[in-house]
Assembly symmetry: C2
Homo-oligomer: 152 residues x 2
Amino acid sequence: MRPSYKSIITALKRHGHKLTLQRRAVIDVITSSQDHLTPAAMFEKVRQDHPGIGLVTVYRTLKLLTELNLICELRTADNCPSYTAGTSEHHHHLVCSGCGKVVDFASPRLIERDVAKLEGKLSRENGFRIDEHLLEFTGLCELCQKAQASSV
Amino acid sequence: MRPSYKSIITALKRHGHKLTLQRRAVIDVITSSQDHLTPAAMFEKVRQDHPGIGLVTVYRTLKLLTELNLICELRTADNCPSYTAGTSEHHHHLVCSGCGKVVDFASPRLIERDVAKLEGKLSRENGFRIDEHLLEFTGLCELCQKAQASSV
DNA sequence: GTCTAAATGAAAAATATTATCATTTACACT
DNA sequence: AGTGTAAATGATAATATTTTTCATTTAGAC
Ligand SMILES: [Mn+2]
Ligand SMILES: [Mn+2]
Ligand SMILES: [Zn+2]
Ligand SMILES: [Zn+2]
């Protein structure tokens, strides 16, 4: 379930953080978009309604929201990190290596079960305490496939 | 199976690339170490035997070897990319978020089969052509767990 | 309204990576 | 062995992203 503007604000307050205009602006942008946005893209959107905001503040806000687990941080190979309000629930990513498009998906219970089992085995064998896992698919979205086909 | 210095050299030659002293030096370092090394760490090691080499050359060599699939490139959230000669075969990573230690593992056939099935489903549902997948576990290695325990 | 710690923004610094380009060099061919 | 040439190198600068510093502002407790 996508956390709403309101639920994020409430959580921030609950954790004793101040509700500044700048934070509200960033949260507004991130909850209003379906896409994963980079800090720079976020900054561009925010400054439309709120010129004078600093890029630094966007970085700081994203860091804070990530630490509080209120937004989803995605780091793929090529692109710089991006963020969505899209569900803090456990999910995974399908990423287009052409345009950076991201599709969130919940992996089937079957896989999660197998992964958990593997996690146990790896933990035992290597003495690790395992905190999380990440399953990511990379490929080309429909548009990028077409673009590639027509360019060849 | 870990590609040896020699096998990498042979592959480079086969692809028509020149065998410069600098490339040999980088390949020597990467095949002599078990660990995932960052470009910077690689540079430090290489310049011991080969002062005068440029960091740029290390970057270029790593890029080349990665493109030819002769080494394994790993990109995790916090650290910058790192590389090993460790097997170009399909495998996954267990990463310590404390010290960056990396354990390579081959995932069980069971998981690979399920993942392939999921790949098909996601591909159909989203119109993606999926090229690869990545399964990564993050946690704390034995030492970092101890360090954490004693610091609390 | 006052006070104070937290938050902001401007600027600079730190990091990581890539581009430019003159110089060097591996190696294919004599 | 010597020559020519395209590929590779390294110095330098440029780019991109993120973090630090610090003086100023401000949210929210009282
Ligand atoms: Mn999962
Ligand atoms: Mn796999
Ligand atoms: Zn795409
Ligand atoms: Zn560790």
